[in-house]
């Protein structure tokens, strides 16, 4: 099996460890992952507020490129990219008028829109294509003793129902519990982290991040595991600001789910980019083979 890979801008910079750990996990499971050639920015949520047709065309260019490459499944790990690409796909499917317009625009670049490309999130691929049992069989280490808060963030499951529930997803919980870890009670698992509000309205966003951190810590989590680069940066890198602002003492590691999964699969810490996390993971992992 081989998947096309759409990293997205964040995974080239602030979320580099997500890129590294994703490649490591796919390699450890022997799944092919080929980067989409010459991909461009998905347009994110910012572009949507400038011009609808333009933003759809910009994001559809990626889907058209993927179609040229054989019309396979396109894996997008960043929640914003995932939701924007998926939304583009759905809008163009639902509205022939928009599709015609976008097709005309893509024609300027010598491309054609392809309806057969499927946009997938790596969590979906790992849990539903590869399967939890297959992953458990490949595990080298047990995650016993790791108490984590499963933080999905908002855009991986919304707005349309995708591969999991829109308010109470459980894919990640099931995956890591099977590998021995304990998911703590975390009712805020799909609560928004504020995203770009950290730049535009920092006060509002810091409040959201504080609530998330409080919820995780009070429920006894030793780390937060997330699927989204914006969540990771807001919840991890801004902990110091939250502490200063609200007189708190949070110091909880925030991992990408691929980093924790990679540990279970026996990847090295360097391959998973663990040294790039600002708050180091302290839980010692039992080396025992399952």
């Amino acid at each position: 099996m081989e998947y096309l890979y759409y990293p997205g801008c964040s995974l080239e910079a602030a979320a580099r460890q997500y890129d590294e750990s994703l490649r490591a996990v796919f390699a450890a499971l022997n799944i092919g992952l080929k980067e989409l050639e010459d991909w461009n920015c998905c347009g994110a949520t910012m572009y949507m507020s400038v011009s609808e047709t333009t933003s759809l065309a910009i994001s559809a260019r990626n889907l058209a490129l993927a179609g040229q490459d054989g019309g396979r499944e396109l894996v997008a790990p960043c929640s914003a990219c995932y939701t924007v690409l998926l939304k583009t796909h759905r809008f163009l499917q639902e509205s022939p008028e928009l599709r015609e317009k976008v097709d005309r625009l893509l024609g300027e670049a010598g491309l054609r829109y392809n309806l057969n490309v499927r946009v997938r999130h790596p969590l979906d691929v790992l849990v539903n294509d590869v399967g939890i049992e297959a992953i458990a069989a490949a595990a080298q280490r047990s995650l016993r003793g790791v108490r984590f808060a499963p933080y999905y963030g908002c855009q991986i499951v919304r707005p349309e129902r995708g591969f999991d529930d829109r308010e109470f997803p459980e894919s990640m919980d099931r995956l890591f519990e099977r590998l021995g870890a304990t998911a703590v009670y975390f009712p805020m698992k799909t609560r928004c982290c504020g995203g770009m509000l950290m730049t535009t309205f920092p006060q509002v966003c810091l409040e959201l991040v504080k609530e998330l951190l409080e919820c995780a810590v009070e429920n006894g989590a030793a780390c937060i595991v997330t699927t989204c680069p914006m969540c990771q940066v807001n919840v991890e890198a801004y902990q110091k600001r939250v502490n200063k602002e609200f007189k708190k003492t949070f110091e909880i590691p925030v991992l990408f789910f691929t980093q924790l999964l990679g540990l279970a699969l026996g990847c090295s810490e360097r391959d998973l980019g663990l040294q790039r996390n600002l708050v180091p993971l302290k839980t010692p992992l039992p080396a025992a083979v399952a």
């Binding site: 910079a13 461009n40 609808e52 300027e108 509000l197 006060q203």
Partner: protein, 225 residues
């Protein structure tokens, strides 16, 4: 606000213009017309993680749209505080795509230049678009620099410690990776600008009648000429 002494059930010309612009944008959203089905139940406001920071709640946005006060919506912080987590859209019992309609309102605001006073977000949008148009990809430090230089250069200083920490861990790319197909993107953009020229449009069904909610959107006969 202006033109207070207007005929009940009619709208001033400026508001009618805004309304036309907004409906044009809303029509681009598949299912956008469902805004007329709102029950005013308030589920959107109750579900919104940031509604406490808004001056007009999401439910009130729809109420004001119905009342013919789009300008008041555009001058509020609400549409720009939305972080697009889609919780309201998910829970709306009438399947109204509230988040996407807020985007339609944002575009109307950008088009008409109506913002609340001292207001930041459109600057971020514009900076983002400039970067993507130039390189085809986004770059976080450059985006922050563009945004803060135009808004408040001192804020850049406060970001410096975090920037250094991320840089030390190899999580800061100082320059975007430019894509090969950036020419193609510019051609797409140029062509899309031509498409954005307002097209001839028919009156939406519900603007034709003259009773109650339907009346909103009518040009007063006197002002129409």
């Amino acid at each position: 606000m202006k033109e207070r002494n207007r005929v009940p059930g009619t709208l001033p010309v400026s508001e009618w213009e805004l309304r036309r612009k907004f409906l044009e944008q809303a029509e681009l959203v598949p299912g956008g017309e469902r805004i007329s089905r709102c029950l005013q139940c308030g589920t959107c406001t109750g579900s919104c993680p940031v509604s406490y920071a808004m001056d007009i709640s999401p439910r009130m946005v729809i109420a004001l749209f119905r009342a013919g006060e789009i300008e008041q919506i555009l001058r509020s912080r609400t549409i720009w505080i939305c972080a697009s987590c889609y919780m309201c859209t998910t829970r709306c019992p009438q399947q109204i795509k509230i988040t996407d309609l807020l985007y339609a309102l944002k575009r109307t605001a950008m088009d008409t230049g109506l913002y609340p006073d001292r207001f930041p977000v459109y600057l971020l949008s514009k900076s983002f678009v400039r970067l993507v148009n130039r390189f085809g990809r986004n770059n976080e430090p450059l985006l922050m620099a563009l945004y803060h230089l135009r808004r408040n250069p001192f804020a850049l200083l406060s970001l410096l410690p975090l920037g250094i920490e991320l840089y030390r861990r190899g999580r800061l790319a100082l320059w975007p990776s430019k894509i090969q197909g950036v020419g193609a993107i510019r051609r797409i953009l140029a062509a899309s600008q031509a498409l954005e020229i307002p097209r001839e449009r028919e009156e939406p069904e519900y603007a034709k009648g003259m009773v109650g909610y339907r009346a909103v959107g009518q040009i007063p006969p006197a002002a129409a000429g």
